[in-house]
Amino acid sequence: MSVNSYKQDETLNEKSKLQTLGRLFAYMLKHKSALIAVLFIMAYCVAVNLINPLIIEAAIDRHISIGDLGGLYRLVGIAICLNAVMIVLVKLRMYIMSKVCNKVLVEIRQQLYTHIQTLDFKFFDSRPTGKILARIIGDINSLKDVLSNSVTTLIPDFITVCSVVAIMFVKNARLAAAALISIPLMTVGVWFIQLRSHKRWQIYRKKGSNLNAFVHEDLSGIRIIQSFNAESETHDTFYKLVDEHRGAFMEAVKYADAFGSIVDFCWGLGNISLWYAGIIIMGVDKVSIGTLVAFGSYISMFWQPIMNLSNFYNQLITNISGAERIFEILDTKPEITDDEGVAEMPEISGTIDFENVSFYYEEGVKVLENVSFHINQGETIALVGPTGAGKTTIVNLLSRFYDVQGGTIKIDGHDIKSVSIESLRRQMGIMTQDNFLFTGTIKENIAYGKLDATDEEIIAAAKAVHAHEFISQLPDGYDTRLEERGGGLSVGQKQLLAFARTMVSMPKILILDEATSSIDTKTELLVQDGIEALLKGRTSFVIAHRLSTIQKADRIFVIDNGGIVEEGNAAELMAKKGAYYKLYTAQLKDVV
């Protein structure tokens, strides 16, 4: 049981960041026409932004310095028009972009959720709910900024930087070179920071995920915590996790915060070398004042986007760890899945064969070994035996919650691996030990077994399992809203509802794994009578410890040591005076 608890950090497969980014942008590329429109708009905006300093230069050199007021008016007039058109385009661009981004987010989230549905128990067994949730909600939300900023900030900024460099070189190559002299320094600085901070951001995300997992568990188990007066312990654990989370953050920003500093420093250096080169090396008379001022503007225009880019880059490497975590789940392949081109399971009549079935959860610890049996249509089979002997495993294998490691399981002669999982499970009614109820009305919960069930069917199922009585006593009857996990109902009542939910689907094979363990004996007997008519001719499995539950079974299998040690009906097994007899008398030992 290697389990990821809130105490352990998750392990991530290292993938290159570019690969992750590429995958992320593949989603954006699905909206090609929108992106192309955005690109055109951005090209216009960048062009206007680049022209603005040129206008200023022209205005100073050609009009203001010679006192040409009319020329100044014309020039500024044109500039204002150019800028005014921009407002409309910016609106359009922002609208398109936010639509594309939100659509991409919805798509990724839906894809992730859909994918998680196909994963098998091994996946869910190995990580706490809170950690999976952190990925579906938190990690995806964190992508929002990456997606929208990448296009609306990254691309125009990149274009601006390139164009600024080009313009500077065209205007005056030597001045340009002087102004940009500090770029190598910046590159080294940025590279160093990213090297340090990416790992630390990953750790930060993992700590956040641990926190989420713990909060989820704590809230789910709040009753146990309160009744064991364990608040101070969970308080300590939580505080520790919060501090770790914050510690990881501080570790990361220690480096990441230096981004702005480096850019600022290089900006200053660029300014110095520009003025120095312009005035001392080239001489004032060679360079016009307007050009120098314009260059000053260009330097700002060069460094401001770099500053943005560095900010964005920071965010990018923070959030890319979110994307990595999402893609990791998407890359997890379910072990139990339909083979290609599987057939649909035809209507089940109910013969079941286990042929030399072997199974283990953990390598080396066999749970079932070479188990074989045949069950005829319509038989009721009771599985009894000590806890942990493998009773639940047998029914889990039959429902393909896990796959056998050896042997085959057949229903009506079909190997269950050769039919689609959905067509198989749809015809089975499986009542697991944890009978989970959803938030919603009682009616909705019962109808979960058969989505199109009519009210009559729902009530009939509830009546069969004797849940109708207590449901009718509730203020809103079948429309009573259940809070989380059926809060407000007793465990026995929850069990009855889960039972009704199973019965409404009229399963061809019914599996009751301690389905009535929390129900009193009197009700249990009523339930047995109630479902008898419904189950006529259907095969069923009953796992139970209470003898009254299993006595009516056609055959009883006593499971122990990885196999069936005894089988037969109650009377036969009693006569045998073997394992069953021992179990039976244990229950009577004290009583009679």
């Binding site: 939100n102 789910s220 944890d434 004996t521 003898l547 004290d590």
Partner: protein, 572 residues
Amino acid sequence: MRKKLSTYIWEYKWSYLFAIASLVISVSLDMLAPMLTMHIIDDVIIGGNTALLPRLLAGIFMVGVGRCIFQYTKEYTFDKTGSAIASDMRKKLFDHIQGLSAGFFDKTNTGELMARVKDDIDRVWNTISYVGMLTIEVAFHTCVVLFCMYRLYAPLAVIPTAAMVLSATVAICMERKLGAIYEEISDENSRLNTVAEENIAGVRTVKAFAREKFEIRKFLSHNERYYELNMKQSKVIVRYYPYLQIITKLILMFVLLIGGKLVIGGKITLGTLGAFLEYSNNIVWPMEMLGWLSNDLSAGLASNKKINKIYEVQPVIKEPEDPVVLDKVRGEIEFRNVSFHKEDMHEILHDISFKAAAGSTVGIMGATGAGKTSVVQLLQRLYDATGGTICLDGVDITRLSLSQLRSSISVVMQDVFLFSDTINENVKLGKKSAVSEAIVRKASKDAQASSFIERMADEYETVIGERGVGLSGGQKQRISIARALAKHTPILIMDDSTSALDMETEHEIQKMLNTLSDTTKLIIAHRISAVRHADEIIVLDNGSIAEHGTHEELMEKKGLYYMTYVSQYGQV
């Protein structure tokens, strides 16, 4: 308990002050740059005084270095302070939630609470660090730039001032509109969280019914709603934000136009105009930032509101003002005419009276929904009785210290809950410091759990999954029995806690329970065998005591108990 956001900020006033000081210095340094530029143009280039150049360039260099340092201290201090406050808020919120009563958790979804503790605090965190920092920077920056402009040439500075006022108005409008939407987004976020949470926690049920497609559709509807809300938010931004952008562009043009006229008219020098233009360039980013800031600010404030809503909920069951603390709890329990109904007035218990002497065993039986679990929940004060009194050692439990009461009672609950931690830590829960390894082993042995635990590779250090995934129902039950036994409390409650155990194991546990002579035991069970030897057996029916007495007495009576016996064991 609850502290206002402003109180937190006040507590960290020195850090904030230091951060703001760094900010002021770094912005001021930034402001020096245009001054230096002006001198270079006016004195060096036009005036021809090249000797000044090295000093001016050294000045620019110093500005760069200074900004480099103070930018870092500014950002780092804001991050440090913001994260400290956020962590503190998160801790307090957690403590508050944990202190709320069972009734609150019956009504509130885990997914929603998770969203508050994680996402909403994160948003507030963002507000008080990064966004807060930028807001102050933008404000200060703008003020300084305006100040410089006024000093340079006041009439020309009127243009950017007017633009600032305009931008601020637009930003405020936008913030107002966004606030309401963010509250909706925050709600939908928690709903999305809840749907996903139930799906994952209930994955076994989903798979058993092959309802994956149904679940996907359910999620899709919330996902789409989330999309719509986010688009609503985008539309507000689209409506306002471009104006902020365009205003900044126009400032530059108007300054150029009017300034050019002034230069031509001989009112200002060309250098002054150059500096003015550079200043104007300098307020481009703060003004563009405004839109973005008001967006994040509204998100943070909306989240803060949501958090405050949780603080408004007060625990119904609290430590009494002047609690009675017993020297030693003997474990004598008395219910006197206890009634209990929930908020919807649906009566669960009616006039329950019974007494359990210290060290005795009381068995409770009854049909599903008869109120058995409510009896023990009332005893633990997870809920308070709505009528009558419950006494422990003769003292009304509502007067007793709550922590003493709860730590005197160990419960094995019906639906077993285990934490994703080692078996050892699970068994120790509630008294981690007091329970030794030896006690853990002893308790596990008594609960018949040691044999399977010791077969595991890591034995007691084995980490079990959330809710004990990977263990069978019976194994989980035995660990939860061990967890209760390890505390060795005066009162032990077993709420239908051997239902998943085979008969032999159950029998062994019965025998062990009988040896706990100084523990008062309340045993809820459906199997006769579990209560057979109790000093008194109470049979509940529909919230009232239908019959009570010893096994023999009840068998004589030939009532409900007798009927249960017959259906379990046949005729006597």
